[in-house]
């Protein structure tokens, strides 16, 4: 029991961050907070990957004469790519928020939905 909590602590951290990020994405009304939540969510996966690459007793993967066990460098390389993707997503998301702010005058999701509905209502009046 203790082993599955303490021994696998890296997974618990990843799960906690993932859920915290996911909750922020779903629950917050502010678009910037949603992006921050998305970032935390992605970071948890980065941590999951990086901790997967650790070999017990292994040294950093730099070739040296008197070392036999190395950690696995591949997950780290993979996650480097995923970090770049994450940065691009964040940049795109933030620039969209800037344009949404210009177009709607707000970065709150509820305001945006309200503004869109107000745009629809006059057309329904025209019908009647």
């Amino acid at each position: 029991m203790i082993d599955s909590i303490v021994g696998l602590y890296n997974y618990w951290i990843a799960i906690f961050l993932m859920m915290a990020g996911f909750y922020t994405v779903i629950a917050s009304d502010n678009l910037v907070k949603k992006i921050v939540g998305l970032n935390i969510f992605q970071t948890s996966v980065f941590i999951l990957y990086i901790s997967l690459g650790k070999v017990e007793g292994g040294s950093p993967p730099i070739v040296s004469a008197n070392i036999d066990v190395y950690s696995n460098p591949l997950p780290h390389v993979l996650i480097l790519t995923a970090i770049v993707v994450g940065v691009a997503t964040t940049a795109l998301g933030l620039s969209l928020i800037i344009r949404i702010k210009k177009a709607y005058g707000s970065v709150e999701e509820s305001d945006i939905i309200e503004a869109d509905q107000q745009m629809l209502e006059p057309t329904q009046d025209e019908k009647q």
Partner: protein, 492 residues
Amino acid sequence: MMTHGPILQVVLPLLVAPICFVFSRFHRFCWIVACVISWIGLFISIRLFFQAEQGVIVYELGGWAAPWGIEYVIDRLNAFILVIISAVAAIVFPYSLTSIKAEIDPRQRGLYFTCMLLCLAGLLGIAITGDAFNLFVLLEISSLSTYTLIALGRDRRALASSFQYLIMGTIGATFILISVGLLYSLTGTLNMADLAERTQNLHTSRTLKVAYSFLIVGIGLKLAMFPLHLWLPNAYAYAPSAVTVFLASTATKVAIYVLLRFLFNVFGITFSFELLQTEWILIGLGLISMLFASIVAVFQQNIKRMLAYSSVAQVGYILLGIGLLNINGLTAALLHIFNHALIKGALFMSLGAICFRVGNTELKNIAGIGRMMPWTMAAFVAGGISLIGIPSSVGFISKWFLILAAIEKGWWPIVVIISICSLIAVAYIWRVIETAYFKTPQDSGTRYVEAPLSLLIPTWILVFLNYLFGTSATFTIDFAATTATLLLGAGR
């Protein structure tokens, strides 16, 4: 030169995209370059298609052999998807120049071509790659450019829907990333063929089941499986018309390809269907998609949004075909991937022509347009007939096989539901036809002239293909049936 076909297919649009970015002030130049690249791409993909008929093509990137390097693997299934993507691109790019004139700000037109080329490269890459992590990266390339393309729409709602898609799409892609990570931790490989081999003995592993679940949900988001479809209607409705044409006929199809590849090849039939019984999820969600999205489509005021909901319903047909898990069902699914690309391509292109003249696609604004733009509306009607599935059109063929597959299983309620959904399709297509032909414009002074030839010709090419493959379908049916047999035999 031709031995490098697989890599050129992906790298050409990827390399030309920055060139378009540098010369983005001269959008005509970008247009010409993009057209030429898409035609070369079509040529390469057709060549690969016929080569893959003879045997699987394996291309090692940079000469590094498979477990260490990334390899591109082209078999019958993805050669077919490559042809669909590059054919749609080869038709959409020539169509773009006129279409974006009315819908995209002059300064952004060059950037439009840049993003379209990136999106094309990403989609082709997803279809061609044999490496699970490479698939994730290319998925993100295509997704990021898609978000940008949707945000190019004039309506401010395009921004909000692009943002919504960005959030949902990134969550989906991250789920796929988690799944790939778990698969790697379990097997120590990212190569799909190796994965398929090494997961064979791990069927009871919980990690494998978790990886599988994350993957299915992640791909489900990308292909707009029923409860995960929320991003699609708005994204398609407010994106520029040319973008909608391209996305509707390619993006969800590629996601379905990924689903097929992982269900049948990487995890294998024994694991996905005999052990975890995914077919019930596919059939259930497929049927709900068909019914729910068709009914919602009837009540839409915007025709583009209506067709977007119809796309969700059509994805339901494809999922149902996969879930039936017999040769006819899979044949129907494969045929419908191709046929739906043709149908929705033709429909959205004719809507693009309407949008070019009228300025939007609200149902109330197109009253009486059938007489003012006869060729455009005729294309819409022809596409609509194909969507409903009347004999001699492609829509009929895929639905026919789907019904055959359901009868083979003896599941009559499914046959009934397929017919009901086709009837609902009649209802929503008829609403447009009625408004366009039998109603007079609210303001009797409104006059629209026929759309320019540069929009009509690509539209009619797709309409023509709808009926060409609808009347002489032996080639596509044979091909789909053989591929379906291969897929079903692969995991056993």
